[in-house]
Symmetry: C4
Subunit: 277 residues, 4 copies
Amino acid sequence: MKQVILPRPFKSHKGNFGRVLTIGGNENYGGAILMSSSAAVHAGAGLVSCATDTKNLTALHSIVPEAMFINYQNDVELVNAVDAANVLVIGPGLGTDATALKILQKVISNTNTKQFIIVDGSAITLAAQEPALLEILATRKTIYTPHQMEWQRLSGIEISKQNNIKNALKQQELEATVVLKKYHTTIYHTDGSASQLEVGGPYMSTGGMGDTLTGIIAAFLGQFHFKNYEHVVDAAVYAHSALGQELAASKYVVLPTDIINHLQHFMSNYVQSTIQK
Amino acid sequence: MKQVILPRPFKSHKGNFGRVLTIGGNENYGGAILMSSSAAVHAGAGLVSCATDTKNLTALHSIVPEAMFINYQNDVELVNAVDAANVLVIGPGLGTDATALKILQKVISNTNTKQFIIVDGSAITLAAQEPALLEILATRKTIYTPHQMEWQRLSGIEISKQNNIKNALKQQELEATVVLKKYHTTIYHTDGSASQLEVGGPYMSTGGMGDTLTGIIAAFLGQFHFKNYEHVVDAAVYAHSALGQELAASKYVVLPTDIINHLQHFMSNYVQSTIQK
Amino acid sequence: MKQVILPRPFKSHKGNFGRVLTIGGNENYGGAILMSSSAAVHAGAGLVSCATDTKNLTALHSIVPEAMFINYQNDVELVNAVDAANVLVIGPGLGTDATALKILQKVISNTNTKQFIIVDGSAITLAAQEPALLEILATRKTIYTPHQMEWQRLSGIEISKQNNIKNALKQQELEATVVLKKYHTTIYHTDGSASQLEVGGPYMSTGGMGDTLTGIIAAFLGQFHFKNYEHVVDAAVYAHSALGQELAASKYVVLPTDIINHLQHFMSNYVQSTIQK
Amino acid sequence: MKQVILPRPFKSHKGNFGRVLTIGGNENYGGAILMSSSAAVHAGAGLVSCATDTKNLTALHSIVPEAMFINYQNDVELVNAVDAANVLVIGPGLGTDATALKILQKVISNTNTKQFIIVDGSAITLAAQEPALLEILATRKTIYTPHQMEWQRLSGIEISKQNNIKNALKQQELEATVVLKKYHTTIYHTDGSASQLEVGGPYMSTGGMGDTLTGIIAAFLGQFHFKNYEHVVDAAVYAHSALGQELAASKYVVLPTDIINHLQHFMSNYVQSTIQK
């Protein structure tokens, strides 16, 4: 994992570092997509657009003016934004009502095989009931980021019966990467391998932590171009928890906004310590 | 009190740390419920939802994107949110008009005996005139957090005549914990005992301090599971004032938002100093 | 001046530290009243309400959730708020249109002789043309805070001809304190004396600096109870500029929000250095 | 370049440091004009007004209450604001639709030859197709700040064929300064000379960086009064990148808001190091 965060090539422009589109945030859960978007900006994505409810426009600009706004109920705007992106995050705060499903379908059906798609939160719950969507996602570079209950919905495996073998079997059927968020998160790769996180802890058990992770994965995929992109996913998941662990030295709980605020410094330290070795 | 803030168990998830619902914030007093919600998030609540006027949605997300929004005038949303919570705060910035009363009634009548209910500010003023509500609250794990004038309204005891004996008698009738906020706040417990605060001071005499306290009590009740939950209330009240006192070393007045911003660090220090002993 | 900022009495509550009402902020100049309100909160006012355009509600709560909101176009709300206040600031960002004049008249005609009234910015421009208002203000504890052009409008003395003698003569006619903001601000007291500021500098020449000053004066008047309240005004003006000068050691320009953010620390240092002497 | 940022003259007021008007920010790209405005405030502009969509009012005040708001769809307000300004920024987040073009035309046709006009982003794309606008701009103190694709649109020179000679020829036709943003930004002056930046790097490749630059150029032009104003433009471009380089020592990516937050300190250091020499 330590070989992912690298110094940037000198001759480059923001397009080289990813065009991230985050999609989610209904009237009730706007904060989720704002944290995902802000995490993507702070983790180094070149350009970030946030497709969300118009109610979240002002909070988006107030929190992270670097991000652009898309009205996710405007079909033309939404489809254009999907077209223009090379990394998508869908799900944080999306909800599970009819509007959410319509948006999810509109987005997934307009993606292409070159794009990375991070499917999180309520988008997992919705997709679990839509075989047609799962089928499309199986042909994409899809990363699911469920917690255990969402994984139960997606995999059909009850939480108490989830284990590495059962999880991997189901994940292989999905033909996608699965980041299963739990005490020591496990990442199931498309080649059948898995990696388990040894960092992080209960100080990170706060609403919004998972939303923040999606933004970091998106930013990493947007800017670190490796043959095996799942190494980049691993690195993002690692960075998220390792930073949480670092901050927990002086904070009883670590909040998503704490992670966001320290990403740039954490990544800088990382590169510098790597270079010294 | 020093035995309440403990290191978190390793195997845990955000559900273990409390589902807090804060209810309040009309058009005039939105800041009150935002500070309560933000304090709950920073004090470690696993999940925080804020039921408030739609006018406060954007400020909520701008200040604390970790919190979720509930339109408190939408009965279905509100009742569902009450159902899902295990700790409720009602009152900060709620106001005392007909809408406020309707919301208070809707909330209280939908609570159950497992939930903690922190009744603050205008909710105390309103409840003082509604025997039916006081009756329900007497059967719940209720914590009233009045200042002296609100206590006068609730207890019928004039400020000049309030003393420990009279206060305790009335509090026992209410069958609830009473946190009476004044110079050296006193907490009257349901078993008839009382504890008095020796920390804090006039640098904390600012609008919003009490709102912030409600969020801390809620977060503590949500995450620290003790047989005698009133010890947890004591600890929360202590933490609030002890942190204020600490910050007053370098600030002429300590603001609610200062308390909120330093909670995570304060709690971390606390755990570390406890472990060393 | 050094005897104004004192340690707070132990037995006290937020009512002892002033109920400040700030009035201003139309659609174009909302930031002005937000900075005034935020300065009042940070300078230690016990309770701060901001009467402004509904368009500024969300930004108010986002910047300073400690402040309460009043819709300044709602006559009942506004008059009640004026009644409840003991210090008023009127003018920052108020504008000079018919609505502004109506609000100014409504406010001034509802004040009483116990209240302090700080008249700033466009309220000065408007009042200059309304003898009836100047007459009421002459019977109140009024503090005008004009810059030189506003003073020209209020006094009739052209900027190039403004000098201490002419200014004092006109100020005596107004029967009010005048804080004339310029290079080395001069304060003309009701007893005919004047004091001139020796601190501050061009690094403070930024839009919003004067708005911030009004909040500091208001907070000081609300909490420091001296027989001669004009000493308190002097102290507030001094604190504003002395803090600016301190911050200018490491900032090329000092912004209003910088002043606001450092008020609590500055006042704390001040008290501590006074005590040591 | 080092002779531009100078200590401020003691006897001065905010009018001496520039009246900056930023114009842009539609529903989708509001953050762009907010960052431009905030950069102008932090870089020392005396007064900053932001003409933008009403949807951006609250975020503007939340981020930078020092700035004033103009509804850019209100013709009277907009023209008055153009009249009152001595430096204009047009383009950040303006978009390229009919509304954007109408606003651009309204603004440019109301400018005068004493004003500085910084033309950025979508305003460049729009102006490239409007010879009448280019003609007016040729008679103004215009600074274009294109990235390479926008320069292709404005100059007709494909990116792959852009070089100093071709660029300078076209720039001379435009009779304007051109700040061509790329790896080592080049500034083409009206006298035919050019300067190339040796600082900055890929850590600055984030959406919003260019918007931030426009605010810095505007603030510098507003406050540093040199015969050859293009030296001031050079200094602003240098400051932007030099500060970015400084911050990159501890941040993997440098965000526009980082630049904004450190401008005052950076400029202070600059003056102090200059004085010591």
